[in-house]
Symmetry: C2
Amino acid sequence: MPELRLNLVTREWVVIARERAKKPEDFKKAGYIKKEIEPFIDTCPFCPGNESKTLGEIFRISAGKDWKVRVVPNRFPVFSAAGERLRKTDGLKRMVSGVGAHEVIIETPLHNMTTALLPVEQTTDIIRTYKNRFISLHQDPRIEHVIIFKNHGEGAGVSVEHPHSQVIAVPIIPIQFRDRFESAAHFFDDTGECLMCMTIRKEKEEGTRVILDTEHFLTFIPYAALSPFHTWIFPKRHSASFSDITDLEIKDLANTLKTILSKLYYGLDNPDFNYVLRSHRPRDCDMEYFHWYISIVPRLSKEAGFELGSGMYINPSIPEENARFLREVKV
Amino acid sequence: MPELRLNLVTREWVVIARERAKKPEDFKKAGYIKKEIEPFIDTCPFCPGNESKTLGEIFRISAGKDWKVRVVPNRFPVFSAAGERLRKTDGLKRMVSGVGAHEVIIETPLHNMTTALLPVEQTTDIIRTYKNRFISLHQDPRIEHVIIFKNHGEGAGVSVEHPHSQVIAVPIIPIQFRDRFESAAHFFDDTGECLMCMTIRKEKEEGTRVILDTEHFLTFIPYAALSPFHTWIFPKRHSASFSDITDLEIKDLANTLKTILSKLYYGLDNPDFNYVLRSHRPRDCDMEYFHWYISIVPRLSKEAGFELGSGMYINPSIPEENARFLREVKV
């Protein structure tokens, strides 16, 4: 019998299709051949030596006269850096001018790298860069929300191969974020506890969905994972905003992220994935009922009319089996 | 400057990326070659002569001893037809047994057809079949919600080529549906009007996004269309549930659906698409503030980390331009 599970954090119903479920190892990329990629590509705008091909640099972490991480504006930005935030209401039409920011974080000088293979010190620098951009962009009064994310692989929407993350700053609060935040507030009203703090505690107690448990972070496959190997990284210390992450926590997070992405890389032969950092803004840091986290979604299943028409998901795998599989992958 | 538009019906923010926007004709399938498909395929379980390859027939519309439309159970159902609806709560875990239905509507005996090419009488029979299954499945007390949808083309999740729709009946109300319904109720509280009735009136008045205006339906690209050529078909007569559609309206809807899908077929060279019928259940038919409709989503853009991480969408096209383009496609 299939199971419907409700994800209390996202308020999404997920069908765990037991009868149709694949075994964890069945999600290995079919016919995956490791492509030999050169570490430097002449025509790549993100490779060292081609710095003039990107627009004005916004931030860098240096090593001597070289850079380790660089932040540049996206050449085809979704949002415009210049301009006023204007709101227009006309009948049923609601419009806000598309001011904000769209930046690219070049994660390494090496074209042929990926987080799974990078030294953990490099991932630490990437997360330090996330923190810098997150705080800095939120200082702009036109900005309400900042989304940091990474697309990996063509199936996840990548167009430039050189490893990079993206930051998008938007002049409104996305309704999805507001909904989750409101339902977390209701949970707090009912229980006096942060839903996410309680989730961490319960997942740790039960253990079957936990992949990694470090000093500062718990990494697990959610009970109602929306797709195969959907993974959450939660900071153990309650905080609504990523902006107050400490340097010790950054080091732990870098190690955690590298470990999980390595487990996916070696265990499932480098699947396409997206990850995204979900966080309240810095000034709401002390809020008792929201908790920032990172969500990793490998692109191993396809959405069609059902998902579109219901906002529900079909997960053709068993979260507990996938978690056990990833726990056992040696990296 | 890009524009952020709020879709009041779905509560989704959409970025209309003016600078990155493509022209309507740029969405024609690159390198599309019309594949010659045979009208009957020996190995296809949905082709006439192979009726024994499907499980027990649920419904059919006949023409003499032949069938015109057939409904059969999905061979790999997401939900189980047998069993009790049970709910389990354990700590933060919420589980409902996956009882329900998963049926396939075989739309025509001809393997090489598509709605754009079928005679309108055939589409009328398909919609009559939708109505039968919608009402019939809702008589099961375990069922809370019925989703009728069609996937067309590989990019939209099709695995069997023979033209078919699907019906999924679920034992819960999807949260996405409940959210939309609640926000429509708030709108009604504020204004005393159905949000969707007002939307139809305003879209008709403004006209720039209207594609087709028939006696019983208005077809338009929503102001905040989530992707290129995202299209809504709204019945002009207020009703919360598809179950009370009249035969006259069915004929008009068949003509409307065929016309719109033909415009996509000829105007954009047969793009992949999903459509879905969003409706309240029959017993909520008289509700003043919800209005059933059909949503068509051609699969012409790709979701990545940003969409996943924000629930917002980037639409690389201008709704008004796309509507004008489709209005002008001759069929």
